[in-house]
């Protein structure tokens, strides 16, 4: 069964059935990744371009590995050191890459909405690898997939997203994804980092991190995105760590054992302490491992018959 969409632009556009389909496909790819030969020849006739206008380690590596393990040919492009600095527009850059017969584009861009803009102007399938402060759909899928692996169904589970909600595309995609899967979501952090109208998405808001931890089954701790904060929103990192950082003492004082997640890169000692990030409760490295399987599933499911996809838009 193909997905209901031609591109993966955001979680917002997916149906719960799409998400379940991606998870079931990822289950099979996870098995492939545990074999001695971690590769299948499925997409040997497909070329994928990874176009990154913003820095990335994990996402880019993960996409590249996923593409290679599906047997696809891969070209990488990063904005620094390219003709973008000579003033080339986004559409021109991408059309030039597509003129070299590329079938699929994975793009990260600092402008929110850039993948939607691109989807209106080019024919290839587009996967959003993060756009500004808007969405990061594959991260949300791998987060939910990792939770599902630990606790089974997400229905009725309580997930707290803690930290810089305002600047986080991971937070927004996670909220959409978890809601579609029937989980309860709470956001927590300093009031200056939580958007005013976030409750309209159906999430709870709690400014006390300790209380959020008491409420939840799973805590997804986000990075403080200093590069996106153009005016001071809290006084110092030390103060943030004292009032909003997650540490071992806090976890030990809870009556239950909760699961700790972080999408990386971690600012150790700021939003999360090393004794939490490296503890048994943490599934941070499982998230990274699952990322490859999830991205393989998304690429595979979007790679099907082109004429058919065009007719369903």
């Amino acid at each position: 069964m193909p997905l209901s969409v031609k591109h993966l632009l955001g979680i917002k556009e997916l149906t719960p059935q799409d998400i379940e389909q991606i998870f079931q496909t990822a289950d099979e790819f996870k098995q492939v990744l545990q074999r001695p030969i971690k590769k299948v020849p499925t997409l040997r006739d497909t070329t994928v371009a990874n176009i990154f206008f913003e820095n990335s380690t994990r996402t880019r590596l993960s996409f590249e590995l996923a593409e290679k393990r599906l047997g696809a040919d891969v070209v990488n492009f990063s904005a620094s050191g390219s003709s973008v600095s000579k003033g080339e527009t986004l559409i021109d850059t991408v059309n030039n890459i597509l003129a070299m017969k590329v079938d699929m584009v994975v793009m990260r861009h600092s402008a929110s909405g850039a993948p939607w803009f691109l989807a209106r102007h080019i024919d290839a399938s587009i996967i959003n690898a993060g756009d500004g402060t808007n969405e990061h759909p594959t991260q949300a899928l791998l987060d939910a997939f990792s939770i599902r692996e630990k606790v089974g169904s997400l229905k009725g589970k309580r997930i707290a997203i803690i930290g810089d909600i305002m600047h986080s595309r991971v937070a927004l995609s996670n909220i959409f994804c978890l809601a579609k899967l029937g989980a309860e979501v709470m956001v927590s952090g300093p009031p200056t980092l939580i958007p005013k109208h976030i409750h309209s998405l159906g999430v709870r808001v709690e400014y006390n991190v300790k209380k959020a931890l008491e409420w939840c089954d799973v805590a997804n701790v986000l990075r403080i995105q200093l590069e996106r904060q153009h005016k001071p929103l809290f006084s110092t990192l030390r103060e943030y760590a004292l009032f909003y950082g997650v540490n071992k003492q806090m976890l030990d004082s809870l009556k239950k054992e909760i699961i700790i997640m972080h999408p990386g890169p971690i600012n150790r000692g700021v939003e999360i302490n090393s004794d939490v990030a490296d503890s048994k409760q943490s599934i941070i490295l499982d998230q990274v491992e699952n990322g490859v399987a999830i991205r393989m599933a998304v690429i595979y499911l979007l790679s099907g018959r082109k004429d058919l996809q065009d007719s369903i838009g």
């Binding site: 099979e28 098995q31 001695p36 030969i37 020849p41 499925t42 099907g304 058919l308």
Partner: protein, 184 residues
């Protein structure tokens, strides 16, 4: 007769199918005796009903509780991913090493041979078997697109491309029967 009506002809009824299955199982035991270095692998999704039956019968004949029996999904090895609808994958379960074993691949209908080609590709990603044999319930002769022939065939039938052969299994379809469907 109305146009587009379907002409359904039974190739094997319930009783004939049971006898054929017994014969196939006995042929396997004849060639592989104790099944010590032999594994049975069914091809997902429709070959599994046949391989389940054959595996059970082989166990009964040789009097063993357990033989190496696995299931193989070939979705990611198809050669037509870009040209047809995306298919959802099934489980691959091979809980043993196939290194240096005789492997018997099992599928219900052998038609163009492309599924078996994919299955052989998938299989060698799990190890290097000593040899690979092919068992099918129905061999649609003269419709092959690749040089692949079965080692064990339950029933051989000459068909044209517009005809369809469907195997019904009690576990899934409520009856055991093999039919040939012809569009008139």
């Amino acid at each position: 007769m109305k146009p587009n009506a379907l002409l359904v002809k039974t190739l094997l009824n319930n009783d004939q199918l049971q006898i054929t299955l017994q014969r196939l199982a006995h042929q396997l035991v004849e060639n592989h005796l104790s099944f010590r270095d032999t594994a049975i692998i069914g091809i997902q999704p429709r070959g599994i009903y046949l391989s389940n039956r054959i595996a059970e019968m082989v166990k009964a004949i040789i009097g063993k509780k357990k033989i190496d029996y696995g299931k193989l999904d070939i979705t990611f090895y198809r050669d037509d991913v870009q040209t047809r609808d995306i298919k959802a994958p099934h489980d691959t379960i091979i809980p043993f090493s196939i290194e240096n074993k005789s492997v018997i691949l099992i599928d219900d209908v052998l038609h163009t041979g492309r599924t078996i080609r994919s299955a052989m590709d998938a299989l060698v990603d799990y190890g290097r078997p000593k040899n690979v044999e092919l068992l099918v319930l129905v061999d649609r002769r003269f419709s092959r697109e690749l040089p692949i022939q079965p080692d064990y065939a339950g029933y051989t039938v000459d068909t044209i491309i517009t005809q369809k052969v469907i195997v019904y299994w009690n576990e899934k379809d409520g009856k055991d029967e093999v039919v040939l469907i012809d569009k008139v």
